[in-house]
Symmetry: C2
Subunit: 184 residues, 2 copies
């Protein structure tokens, strides 16, 4: 993670050219996301597939990997952003917009080795403070998932604990199940 | 951190001989604390001194470093445990007991490099669920402090944010001030 010390505004940040990995802007500072690796990529891909597998046919929600969400004077990119169907920003034509200027309903972060936990947690708390109903912070090394509920209430889940999902998504998952996706 | 996979009971754990660094027991598993190092030791020492500097003369509370607290089927050792004066366990003679079989009112953990973030957070949430009013998780590398309030509500503080303390302790601190103790 690289942090620029010089403070810039959100509008200035949004004019900058893209970086790879992508950069986020929160509390006046720019942070570059870590280089995605195996475990991270597997969980991200499988979660998007699993959520969309039930939510897309039922038109209840959509999961987006690496989507920049701009809201609350920040531009963050959760590993996965899930939007309820009716909250997906659309052009008048019905086409999905390119700029998402709102919070996701469910934000998921997967901790990478050596990634700053304080920073990903801060992103999820920023989401929660601005309307996100549910957050997950997945700790692959520790087989645990921290869940974030409204009013920034948190709970650490593990093993066979059932995982909370958005109310309109027909999905039952335990922590164990999600982590078992790492073994193929 | 070492984790024994074999599950044992709390009573069995409490019969084991001490380790150095000390070991904790939570959710059926034993975890050894990391070897304490410079930043950790400095913050731990200075916080104990600062809290006791105001709380001991006023007999409002006492801060204990590395104290084993046994409650809720766990034996955990926060880096600092603060007890309100009237809740400090005492023998009939008035002397402090050796075994603390209750939760601290305020628990503080200082993240060490390479320490499991999920594990220290789990310890603090265990405290919160069992009656601890306030938790701090200090991230020295990221100059942030995660604060844990009743019902496991959390807030990430940084910079000049004022830090919450127990209501009866006459202390005003900001995140910046606490982290400035690392520079002598």
């Amino acid at each position: 993670m690289t942090t620029l010390v010089k403070s810039i505004t959100l509008e200035e940040f949004l004019q900058l050219s893209e970086t790879k990995p992508a950069s986020e802007y929160i509390e006046g500072k720019i942070h570059q996301k870590p280089l995605p690796q195996g475990e991270h990529s597997r969980l991200q891909g499988k979660l998007v597939t699993t959520v969309n597998g039930v939510a897309e046919p039922q038109k209840t929600a959509l999961a987006f990997p690496e989507l920049r969400c701009v809201f609350g004077d920040a531009a963050i990119i959760p590993d996965i952003s899930v939007f309820r169907w009716e909250r997906i920003p659309r052009e008048p034509s019905g086409r999905i917009t390119n700029r998402f200027e709102t919070y996701p309903d469910w934000a998921i972060e997967i901790l990478s080795p050596d990634q700053s936990q304080a920073k990903v947690l801060r992103n999820l708390l920023h989401c929660s403070q601005h309307g996100t109903e549910l957050g997950w912070l997945i700790f692959p090394e520790e087989a645990s998932i921290l869940t974030i509920f409204p009013n920034q209430r948190v709970e650490m889940l593990m093993g066979t604990d059932p995982l909370p999902v958005l109310s309109n998504i027909d999905l039952s998952l335990t922590v164990e199940q999600v982590l078992s996706w790492l073994t193929i």
